[in-house]
């Protein structure tokens, strides 16, 4: 087995509340800026107690979707709903339950970390006697408690991102829109931030989190892959990976040189990729039943197998595969059906 790096190991998941009512809904939402199509016909739902990862490269429409869902940007077409309300017409009560962490640092550089949090908490109506406890809790979570007296301008870029996150969380929101929370943050701290986001999810909060790090899909309950404003996939991370490659993957290391033609026509084998002179990656319908047949076929071909194991493709590979597939479909004039990937 090819082990995952510690930071990418999927934490023990707390399953989303089954049949929970959707907190976030998008139905055929598009957003144009003049001739530029930033978001095209996106439909998705996010049930309560779920982390939806909005993943895609820069310019794929992630921030535009967040801005539409927080009511700072109107859609060109389609319907949006958060907490059962149209974002452009949020009531105060709805706003008190929402948090937004912008992509860029927008806090006050002359105020200290604690003062920034104090102000943001007050904006959400948190009374002063409750603020100290909340500030301490969230600054500790993002590992900034020791830096609470430092002006925000003196914090590093990563610390400023963490302070933004702490400010977004200080009023205990139930729906969180978090734009690139881990950008510019070291891997260890990224994991601790994701751990905290998952803890919020476990407490019943609903989170929509954007990230450019495709590998962070592993922390999400569901993943929406975006490319060029289009939703190209919407699934649970593991299913998504399986779907992307068309089945379960096996990695075969051999003693002598092997040719991918050796496995052509073997039952249960969908695709064979030559990863090296002595290495094959095989896409199977079911790895458990296909493995003995593959071993037999290779033995008949005179190839000695050193190791056969489940291949853990990276999410980057998955993303690249899906985007390339989408481009091919577009060139062929085929429509996009994100759920069809499921």
């Amino acid at each position: 087995m090819q082990p995952l790096p510690p930071s990418l190991e999927r934490p023990a998941a707390s399953a989303p509340v089954p049949d929970a009512p959707p907190i976030i809904e998008m139905d055929g939402v598009s957003r144009h800026f003049g001739d530029l199509v930033a978001v095209h016909d996106v439909s998705l739902t996010v049930p309560q107690g779920t982390i939806l990862g909005l993943i895609g490269p820069s310019g794929s429409g992630k921030t535009t979707i967040i801005r539409m869902l927080t009511g700072t940007l109107g859609p060109t077409a389609g319907r949006l709903s958060v907490l059962g309300q149209e974002p452009l017409k949020f009531t105060r009560q709805a706003r008190e339950r929402i948090a937004y962490m912008p992509q860029l640092f927008s806090l006050y550089p002359d105020l200290t970390a604690a003062e920034n949090m104090n102000f943001v908490a007050a904006l959400f109506g948190v009374p002063w006697w409750k603020r100290s406890r909340l500030i301490k809790r969230w600054l500790s979570v993002v590992d900034l408690w020791d830096a609470r007296h430092r002006p925000a301008r003196d914090l590093s870029g990563g610390m400023q991102r963490r302070l933004e996150l702490a400010c977004a969380l200080v009023h205990n929101p139930r729906v969180l829109f978090i734009d690139e929370p881990t950008a510019g943050i070291d891997p260890l701290l990224r994991q601790s931030i994701w751990d905290e986001l998952r803890s919020l999810r476990d407490d019943g909060a609903t989170l929509l989190v954007t990230t450019q790090y495709v590998g962070e899909a592993v922390y999400c309950d569901r993943v929406a892959l975006l490319a060029e404003g289009e939703l190209i996939a919407l699934q649970e991370p593991e299913e998504l990976k399986r779907s992307a490659f068309g089945g379960e993957l096996l990695q075969i290391n051999t003693v002598n040189v092997v040719d991918d033609d050796s496995l052509r026509g073997v039952e249960g084998v969908r695709e064979v990729r030559q990863a090296g002179p002595r290495q094959l990656i095989v896409v199977t319908d079911d790895a458990g039943t296909a493995a003995p047949r593959i071993m037999d076929a290779l033995r008949e071909a005179g190839v000695e197998v050193r190791e056969i194991s489940e291949y853990q493709a990276s999410y980057d590979d998955m993303f690249t595969t899906l985007v390339q597939r989408r481009r091919t479909e577009r060139e062929d004039g085929q429509p996009v059906h994100p759920e069809a990937v499921a």
């Binding site: 801005r67 927080t70 009511g71 700072t72 940007l73 109107g74 452009l88 105060r92 706003r95 008190e96 929402i98 937004y100 912008p102 860029l104 927008s106 806090l107 006050y108 002359d110 105020l111 003062e115 104090n118 102000f119 943001v120 007050a122 904006l123 959400f124 109506g125 948190v126 009374p127 002063w128 002006p151 829109f177």
Partner: protein, 397 residues
């Protein structure tokens, strides 16, 4: 927790936030607040209000019979001229005037008394060399005073001579005083104003009003524009904060700061510079609050239309420039043509200067319409700022 309490929390949160930000930016305070204050204090202390007297040469024709003692002519124009020398060389005096070594040349008439006896008017030639219209006007005034004094002296001498002739011809003294004939009336002066302030005391309230407006306008103009440009406005949009709370929060925060500065400046003005405060502190506080309210509105409006901090500073300086020219700080508002006066009356500081001067130097505000206008400007600016802010906060791109 009630909505009202939450609103109160949101509004008051700005006080601490803004004051902390100001405290952390001492350079801004020094540049924007203390700088103008020091400049204006220096102006108040250093400006005497007295024009330097014109340096004058008096040219007497030979055998004019007029006194040659400079002190004689010095007395004629009192403090408006300083007689440099009395001589007979007209060309030399005019040449000194051209070289701007002196400011005035007065050429006495030839044989003025003889001409008077002959029933002819004499001509006193006066030359000056000024391009400054103010100095030109003052030179004319000095000239008129001097000519008037000179005429009186000629009449006095003629009358004295006439009385001597009459005495001799009538054989009895004629009861006439040449001084009364030459100067039949005299003025007894009395300024009935409540106080006769020195220059600094008179300008003190005006400087106070101008600094207060400048402080409020500049600080608020920078505050909101910075938040608009930093993306903070997006946070406000998503939060439960509404436009009124944001605006009131800003007003309250900066009013609090302005009132602290006002108390310090007013205290220093009265205690150290001796500016009278005949109207008392409550009246002054009322005017300061109205002026602050209107000035904050002006600053916030600037911050809502400016595209950058630089533009906000430029607009604030434009307001300061307009205030110096049109507010009555330097030139009386009444000196402007009626078509331009609305510009003056649209500035909060115009009403602030007039009412503070009345309150502090006369003990009461007689121009109540100015207080009403100040309040009206404040309310109008608040409403306009609120409408503009709502458009920005609720703008859906």
């Amino acid at each position: 927790m009630t909505g009202v309490l939450k609103s109160l929390i949101r509004v008051t949160s700005f006080i601490g936030k803004e004051l902390r930000e100001l405290r952390r930016r001492p350079g801004v305070i020094a540049t924007l607040v203390l700088g103008p204050l020091l400049v204006m204090m220096l102006f108040g202390i250093g400006y005497t209000g007295q024009r330097t007297p014109f340096l004058a040469d008096v040219v007497l024709p030979p055998d004019s019979g007029l006194p040659t003692d400079p002190a004689f002519y010095q007395d004629m124009a009192e403090d408006r001229i300083t007689v440099a020398q009395v001589g007979t060389d007209r060309e030399a005096a005019v040449e000194r005037l051209r070289r701007q070594e002196i400011g005035l040349v007065v050429v006495a008439p030839t044989d003025a008394e003889a001409r008077l006896r002959a029933g002819e008017q004499s001509v006193i030639e006066v030359y000056w060399n000024e391009v400054d219209p103010l100095d030109d006007g003052l030179a004319r005034l000095a000239m008129q005073i001097m000519v008037g004094e000179l005429n009186q002296e000629i009449i006095r001498r003629a009358v004295a001579e006439g009385i001597q002739v009459a005495d001799a011809e009538l054989g009895q003294p004629v009861e006439l005083d040449p001084n009364v004939i030459a100067e039949p009336t005299r003025a007894e002066e009395l300024n009935v104003a409540e106080t006769s302030p020195a220059t600094i005391a008179f300008f003190g309230p005006a400087v106070f009003a101008l600094v207060l407006q400048h402080l409020a306008v500049t600080l608020t103009a920078l505050s909101l524009v910075r938040e608009r440009l930093s993306g903070q406005m997006d946070r406000y949009r998503v939060s439960p904060l509404n436009s009124s709370e944001l605006l009131i929060g800003k007003y309250v925060a900066y009013a609090f700061f302005s009132l602290i500065i006002s108390a310090l400046v007013a205290g220093a003005m009265v205690a150290w510079l001796g500016v009278p405060n005949l109207g008392g502190w409550p009246l002054m506080l009322g005017i300061v609050m109205l002026l602050t309210f209107a000035s904050l509105g002006l600053g916030i409006l600037i911050s809502l239309v400016a595209d950058s901090e630089r533009q906000a500073v430029q607009l604030s300086m434009l307001v300061l420039l307009a205030s110096v020219f049109f507010s009555g700080f330097v030139l009386p508002v009444e000196d402007f043509i009626p078509a331009v006066r609305p510009v003056a009356y649209a500035l909060p500081v115009t009403h602030g200067i007039a009412t503070l001067q009345e309150a502090m130097l006369r003990g009461e505000v007689r121009s109540l319409w100015m207080l009403a206008t100040l309040a009206g400007i404040g309310v109008a600016l608040y409403v306009i700022a609120l409408v503009r802010l709502r458009r920005i906060v609720h703008r859906v791109d």
